[in-house]
């Protein structure tokens, strides 16, 4: 199935490329952000499309995708949750938070490993992964649901938090 790129996105992409007159290769990162925003994750198809767009080999895009944990290679749920696990948050209870979020969202994290960091709930509604420092270390544990930011999240209130994203 061919990748359907909305015209608006493509013109945005074309515009972004003009910011890098010396080497189009530099546009890989911004393009990947745009694509992830649109398609929620970076599939091989997207890698190929971005490579063709920038006259690169697919692997030159894939290496960037895999270098940054912020790029997802598998489909997340409708609401994607990222729990900070860096030191301050870890000490403030991020592992407990992770457990209770998983429980509330019915997510099984037992298959997660370095290459597959994201776990998705059975109904596909939620997905979750650990993230590195989200830059609010004084207020751990910290997590994000999509682009919304939450500080001092008590593990016990995981259910309440998810209830906001039930649509």
């Amino acid at each position: 199935m061919a990748l359907a790129i909305p015209a608006e996105l493509e013109s945005k992409i074309d515009e972004v490329i003009t910011h890098y007159p010396v080497s189009k290769r530099s546009a890989v990162l911004p393009l990947l952000h745009l694509m992830q925003h649109q398609f929620r994750f970076i599939s091989d198809e997207i890698v190929n499309w971005v490579a063709a767009k920038l006259s690169l080999e697919p692997i030159q895009v894939l290496e960037v995708v895999t270098f940054y944990p912020g790029f997802r290679q598998t489909a997340p749920g409708k609401y994607h949750i990222r729990v900070c696990r860096t030191l301050s948050c870890a000490m403030a209870g991020s592992y407990e938070l992770m457990d209770s979020l998983c429980q509330a969202a019915k997510i099984d994290r037992s298959h997660v490993d370095h290459h597959h960091p994201i776990a998705v709930s059975e109904d596909g509604k939620y997905s979750i992964e650990f993230a590195e420092c989200l830059a609010s270390c004084g207020f751990g544990p910290v997590c994000m649901v999509e682009d919304d930011f939450f500080e001092k999240v008590e593990p016990a209130k995981a259910g309440e938090l998810l209830a906001r994203y039930s649509a």
Partner: protein, 919 residues
């Protein structure tokens, strides 16, 4: 830049030493203390400094007892007065610890590892003094699976130390971008393509990664790195005109593996898969091992003596009955200079005829002819090395990444570094995505396009007045021709929008130095020679001749196509390009050979076929060429061979041409003989036998010497240096060549006294005095004029990386597993109209014949154009190609054939194609 000597000193462990501008700390140490004094893992001579492993750490200070800092020497620039400490206790400890950490994640099965004894990690571990690893085993990557998907490339990434040498080799040496590091930190691992196997990735099996990898993590099925051979012999690849140097490891008469020497000027530690891996044909069971004589229609094995007697008797008889002109020879661009020289000598001296030609006829004869007309010398004006200095690259009708892979890689590397590339080709070749301009013309309209190209240079005022005035002649006529061009008509003819042509022309003409490469897409046309001359015009009008980074460079197809012509395997010129019908030359040759010789121009290959059919040519001697499969219009060739009274073929295998022979002589391959090849940049290089001829065979050179002796023509036995010495006495531009002074690197002709070569031709003046402009107006090919209405598609042919010509050799190697058939490329619009889908069997037909092959739907061709390769003779695409040829040289028009195409109904599909035997 003049440097104050005192500023070029730095210190190694307290000792003052001179360094070179641009040195890294490591280069400086390597030069004075020898490579290996400082251990390295991620550094390799063929790659850019990287600085990943830190094993090469040293301490540096700006004063002898000033504060010291630890740096990775491989990527740290040296500065004047720097003190470098290579062996301090701190450094030793650091290095030991780094290597120890590497070893915690490395399987300790050295004893059974394929590279044991030749492993850089092992060497470095020993050097830094590791006896045991102190760390307990923890998380590791020891269980990665092996990749055995590919006939040549292998990987076992549990042995990987993440040095990225393979990735950089693939990027910086080959330019294929197959490999990369996936993820980061502890999770980083090497992947191929989108995490595929070697076989499924876009890998072209060049082996650069395998040669670069310090361990056995990436290797090949021949264990090339590990070979503890009894002998390594340096020789030259036989598969194309690049002329890569090879280091061949052998044990007894067994060829074990091939690697590229790092010091080779031609290929700098690189090769393509043909040079490195396609050598298994050597001992293939199909090799001919005994002379064969045809009695009553059947081949019978014979001894060499019987075969020679039989040949001598028949040739003698034919000469007596029909005269020497009834005999002809076809020499081979695959064979050495010495063999080609002997072959033409045999025919010319033995029969007093000039009926000698070579397969250059069917590829680059228009180059030789056209460039001689324009410049006076039918050879590349510059060297491949000039790519380093050029500011613009123009490629017309050539596909270097497939046809001349190592040059293709070099071009790609330069283009990736920003040198603008212009591609003139009907097809979207691999380099097109890298090109700034692609002029996708209709096949057969090169002259129309190049005229327009020249016109726009003139219009933009970008001509080099000075060069034209001082160095050239006939400019006025050329200029007039350009000014009279009808641009509308040209545009309609070649089909490229004029603005595109103009932009490309301006790019070329405004570059400080521009190089023009061309290939068979230029020559194999009815106006091949004219196209060559027009390319020469364009180079001259912009002053792109006679200095570094410019020139006209034909990409010569076969390994020694340059040499075959140099040695006189042409019916109009003898050894050294002396015209045979010139009185002075004729006298010179007669005196030199002490024999009666002909001063009439002989027959070219296609004329030989006609003469055979007319009963005028009775005997033909073919050395190492499969004309049935590779010359156009197969049926015509076959009937010509049938019409001969006597045909002798020297061959490695029983080819379809050999099937027609009266005597087949089993020859030795390039790995089994010595001599010289001349590559596409006029570089005469030594070919050294790496094994003796396989039992029963003889080198082509020895065979020709034997038969000359048998027929009473004075000739000593074959020795490469002996024949070379004779060549040096008659070929003016080989004057200074001796076996010794050619050295390992070879020498570019003209070779002056003392073995001094010439890198750039026509520096102060042209060989012919003034460079001559020629203007030609486009003329439609007769093929199109005659047949286009009935056969509306244009079929054009080319080659792929994996196979060589009709595949006689490459198809008897693992290459056959990589590419198993020829495919017909057809544009999606045409395919839709004809109801053809990818993978369908289609019938291509012309008024001469038809072939069936599988279709591949692709936008690499424009609508109306079909494209295929010709490596699999079961398709015999040459059945449909025409007898049209270049008007000047009779080089056949392989690139333009009027055909039609249709889908083959499933029921009439041919029986399953014969499975190929693989060595």
């Amino acid at each position: 830049m003049v440097q104050d000597l005192s500023t070029l000193t730095a210190f190694i462990d307290g000792e003052p030493m001179r360094f070179n501008d641009g040195d890294t700390v490591l280069k400086f140490i390597d030069r004075h203390r020898g490579r290996g004094h400082v251990p390295t893992l991620c550094d390799a001579p063929q790659l850019e400094p990287y600085g990943a492993c830190r094993v090469c750490s040293v301490e540096v200070a700006m004063q002898e007892d000033g504060p010291r800092r630890v740096v990775a020497s491989c990527h740290t620039p040296l500065t004047a007065g720097m003190h470098v400490f290579t062996e301090s206790p701190k450094i030793r400890k650091l290095r030991r610890n780094i290597v120890e950490l590497v070893l915690t994640d490395h399987p300790l099965d050295c004893l059974t590892c394929e590279v044991s004894g030749n492993c850089e990690l092992q060497t470095v571990a020993a050097k830094v003094g590791i006896r045991q690893v102190r760390y307990p085993s923890g998380a590791n990557h020891l269980n990665r699976s092996k990749d055995r998907s590919h006939p040549y490339m292998t990987s076992e990434l549990s042995k990987c130390i993440n040095c990225s040498r393979c990735v950089r080799a693939c990027d910086e040496v080959q330019g294929q971008h197959v490999l990369s590091m996936h993820g980061r930190g502890f999770n980083a691992r090497i992947i191929k393509g989108l995490d595929q196997s070697f076989m499924d990735s876009t890998c072209v099996s060049c082996g650069a990664c395998s040669q670069a990898c310090p361990t056995s993590a990436i290797s090949d099925v021949f264990f090339s790195k590990s070979i503890e051979a009894t002998r390594k012999t340096r020789t030259v690849c036989t598969y194309c005109g690049v002329g890569c140097n090879l280091n061949v490891a052998t044990k007894g008469s067994e060829v074990l593996s091939i690697q590229a020497p790092t010091d080779s000027e031609v290929n700098h530690s690189h090769t393509c898969l043909k040079g490195r891996y396609a050598f298994k044909f050597v001992k293939h069971p199909d090799r001919l091992r005994k002379p064969l004589i045809r009695y009553n229609g059947h081949f019978t094995e014979a001894t060499w003596e019987e075969a020679y007697d039989y040949i001598a008797k028949n040739l003698q008889r034919i000469k007596e009955e029909h005269g020497g002109n009834a005999v002809g020879g076809i020499s081979s661009a695959r064979c050495t200079n010495e063999e080609n020289y002997l072959m033409q000598k045999f025919i010319r001296v033995g029969f007093g005829t000039n009926n000698i030609d070579a397969c250059a006829r069917v590829c680059h004869s228009p180059t030789a002819w056209g460039m001689q007309k324009a410049f006076g010398t039918g050879a590349a004006t510059n060297s491949i090395e000039d790519l380093e200095y050029t500011n613009c690259i123009l490629i017309t009708g050539a596909n270097p990444t497939e046809g001349h892979p190592v040059t293709g890689s070099k071009i790609k590397q330069r283009v990736m570094k920003g040198v603008p590339l212009i591609v003139i080709d009907p097809r979207e070749i691999e380099l097109v995505p890298y090109a700034k301009h692609h002029l996708q013309l209709r096949p057969g309209t090169n002259v129309a396009l190049l005229d327009m190209f020249a016109y726009y240079i003139l219009e933009a005022g970008l001509i080099d007045q000075d060069f034209i005035k001082k160095r050239c002649e006939n400019w006025e006529e050329f200029e007039q021709g350009l000014r009279n061009l009808n641009l509308d008509e040209s545009e309609r003819t070649h089909g490229v929008p004029r603005e595109k042509v103009r932009a490309a022309a301006i790019e070329y003409a405004s570059a400080k130095g521009a190089m023009a490469f061309h290939g068979l897409g230029v020559t194999e046309h009815s106006h091949g020679s004219k196209t060559v001359m027009t390319i020469a015009d364009i180079a001259m009008m912009t002053g792109n001749i006679g200095r570094p980074g410019v020139g006209v460079l034909p990409l010569r197809g076969q390994n020694n196509v340059q040499g075959a012509a140099d040695m006189g395997c042409q019916p109009h010129q003898g050894a050294g390009y002396l015209q045979v019908n010139d009185e002075a030359n004729h006298k010179l040759y007669e005196e030199f050979y002490g024999a009666h010789m002909s001063n009439e121009i002989g027959w070219k290959i296609p004329q030989m076929y006609d003469a055979a059919l007319a009963g005028k040519l009775k005997a033909l001697w073919i050395m190492g060429e499969d004309v049935v499969q590779t010359d156009p219009n197969t049926e015509h060739v076959k009937s010509a061979l049938n019409a001969l009274e006597f045909l002798v073929v020297q061959e490695l295998f029983m080819t379809p041409t050999a099937e027609f022979a009266d005597v087949v002589l089993p020859a030795a391959s390039f790995l089994e003989k010595s001599g010289t090849f001349t590559n596409g940049e006029r570089r005469v290089q030594r070919v050294n036998a790496v094994i003796p001829p396989i039992p029963g065979t003889k080198s082509d050179g020895q065979i020709v010497c034997d038969i000359m002796q048998r027929m009473g023509i004075p000739q000593a036995d074959y020795t490469p240096d002996g024949v070379l010495a004779e060549i040096a006495r008659i070929v003016p531009f080989f004057k200074g060549a001796t076996w010794e002074n050619l050295t390992d690197q070879g020498t570019q002709w003209p070779i002056k006294e003392g073995g001094i070569g010439t890198e750039i031709l026509h520096v102060d003046s042209f060989k012919r005095g003034l460079g001559k402009f020629h203007f030609f107006r486009f003329q439609e090919s007769k093929e199109i004029e005659k047949h286009h209405d009935e056969f509306p598609f244009i079929l054009t042919t080319g080659r792929i990386l994996e196979h060589y010509n009709c595949g006689t050799m490459t198809r008897r190697t693992g290459n056959a597993q990589i590419v198993t058939e020829d495919l017909l490329a057809i544009h999606p619009d045409d395919a839709a109209k004809k109801g053809i889908e990818s993978g369908d069997m289609v019938r291509i037909f012309s008024n001469r014949g038809e072939v069936n092959m599988k279709a591949k739907i692709s936008t690499e061709v424009k609508p109306g154009i079909l494209y295929t390769t010709f490596h699999f003779p079961e398709n015999l695409v040459n059945m449909v190609t025409s007898s049209e040829c270049d008007e000047d040289t009779m080089c056949p028009e392989y690139k333009v054939v009027a055909v039609d195409v249709e889908k083959v109904p499933a029921s009439s599909m041919p029986k399953k194609q014969r499975m190929m035997e693989i060595a």
